[in-house]
């Protein structure tokens, strides 16, 4: 039984926090199906548009987050998405469990900063830990997004295969609980 197709286009916002844009690339890998998708959705804030903040043009239906939370800026963006999106999706390993950036978590951030900016060999004279108020401060540890806001759906993978993203989104848009199955669920 299929859910009735939505009458209006769903608004979808996407962003990359502490990620590598690999998940977004995989998203684009759905290729010509992107055109089918655009029949059903329109993009709000996203690397694909130049909308700076999500929600400024009305509430979004789906927010898709790539990457984990590694600094204060990530926290703000993630909170903005949560406030303005009805459904929030963690896309990819980093959003789901911290991924590669979280591999620093067993190190003390102070040691990392000191090594990178103070003690590492070959540093330019006068290098110091950046303290420009314009720069977001890093968090003591990197966190998956579900530790900062409530997340409704998770799509793991590094990156998730394009087919998985397609299946996931078409299920979601049609009002079905997304089902992935063998070959589409991947942690790597």
């Amino acid at each position: 039984m299929n859910a009735p197709l939505p009458r209006r286009k769903l608004r979808v916002a996407t962003t990359s926090l502490a990620g590598c844009f690999g998940c977004h690339m995989s998203f684009l890998d759905i290729d010509e199906r992107l055109l089918d998708l655009l029949e059903l959705v329109e993009f709000d804030r996203s690397p694909l548009t130049d909308i700076k903040h999500c929600g400024t043009r009305g509430p979004c239906d789906i927010g898709i987050i790539e990457g984990g939370v590694c600094n204060a800026e990530n926290v703000h963006v993630l909170q903005e998405f949560r406030r303005n999106c009805k459904i929030l999706v963690a896309l990819g390993a980093c959003a789901v469990n911290g991924g590669l950036p979280a591999q620093r978590n067993h190190l003390d951030l102070r040691d990392i900063l000191a090594t990178v900016y103070q003690t590492e060999a070959g540093l330019a004279q006068g290098t110091q830990i950046p303290n420009d108020p314009e720069l977001p401060l890093p968090l003591n540890q990197v966190h998956p997004i579900h530790e900062v806001v409530k997340v409704d759906y998770f799509l793991p993978g590094c990156p998730p295969p394009a087919d998985a993203i397609w299946k996931f989104l078409t299920d979601l848009i049609a009002g079905r609980t997304p089902q992935l199955g063998h070959g589409l669920i991947h942690y790597d």
Binding site: N97, N105, H106, Y187
Partner: protein
């Protein structure tokens, strides 16, 4: 005389004397999620993935002796949900970064996650600090992924007769250690050919000099989900056990 049977999710399962509920199920071709079970070793009963409802009570099927007339439930939403939670507990307990793990695609923890549809670790990650041991010429130990199933401990003690591995600490601080005052695998008599080097269900005990020998996508559980590998888990005679 017909073989005795019990029912598993409504299906009649025959069993031989001495078999556990799980062994009988596997022998009959029914997949049972498991991590600490290995057909060549005595059951351990620690991972709890094989938990079933046996005559109305939860119990590990790998340690419960099969008996005629048992009513067993395994593939129910309630039990599968608990199994998912157990997998999530293991995923947050260690550091599982599959994209850089040599075991990815061959790993039972991961394969069970796929099988049961675990899409998120769900809990808050504990991110333990567990150093890697690269002291051995042929083998790397990445404790970040250890799920404490003790298969290597058992294999080294019972088959290799070396007792290279043991467990130390208690509770959430429990961890694997090796049999050397230095704590380094390189200072033990461990060898790549040991049984203990073959049994780890996850990516802790890894041969060196073999980075991605089998390409991702062509590995054991890439081809078919773990539930279709049930033949590999069927009971065999356990070395040193009376039949």
């Amino acid at each position: 005389m017909s073989e005795p049977t019990f029912t598993l999710d409504g299906r009649e399962i025959p069993f031989a004397a001495g078999q556990s509920v799980m062994q009988a199920a596997l022998a009959a071709g029914v997949f049972v999620p498991h991590l600490c079970y290995h057909p060549e070793f005595r059951p351990h009963g620690s991972c709890k993935l094989c938990t079933m409802k046996i005559n109305g009570r939860h119990a590990t099927s790998c340690t419960t002796p099969a008996a005629a007339g048992l009513e067993v439930e395994s593939d129910t939403p309630e039990i599968q949900d608990k199994r998912r939670t157990l997998l999530q507990m293991l995923l947050v307990e260690g550091n599982h970064f599959c994209p850089s793990c040599e075991k990815s695609g061959e790993c039972k923890l991961q394969a069970l996650g796929y099988e049961l549809g675990v899409l998120t670790p769900h809990f808050n990650l504990l991110y333990p600090d567990r150093p890697v041991d690269a002291s051995h010429p042929d083998v790397l130990l990445d404790f970040n992924r250890c799920i404490l199933c003790e298969l290597c401990v058992r294999a080294s003690a019972e088959v290799d007769k070396k007792s290279v591995f043991a467990l130390a600490g208690r509770g959430i601080r429990k961890h694997l250690i090796v049999n050397a005052e230095s704590g380094k695998l390189g200072d033990t008599d461990f060898a790549l050919t040991d049984k203990a080097a073959q049994v780890c269900p996850v990516g802790v005990i890894l041969p060196k000099k073999c980075g991605f020998c089998v390409p991702i996508g062509q590995r054991r559980f890439d081809a078919a989900p773990i539930s279709q590998h049930v033949d590999e888990f069927k009971p065999v005679a356990i070395p040193g056990e009376r039949a």
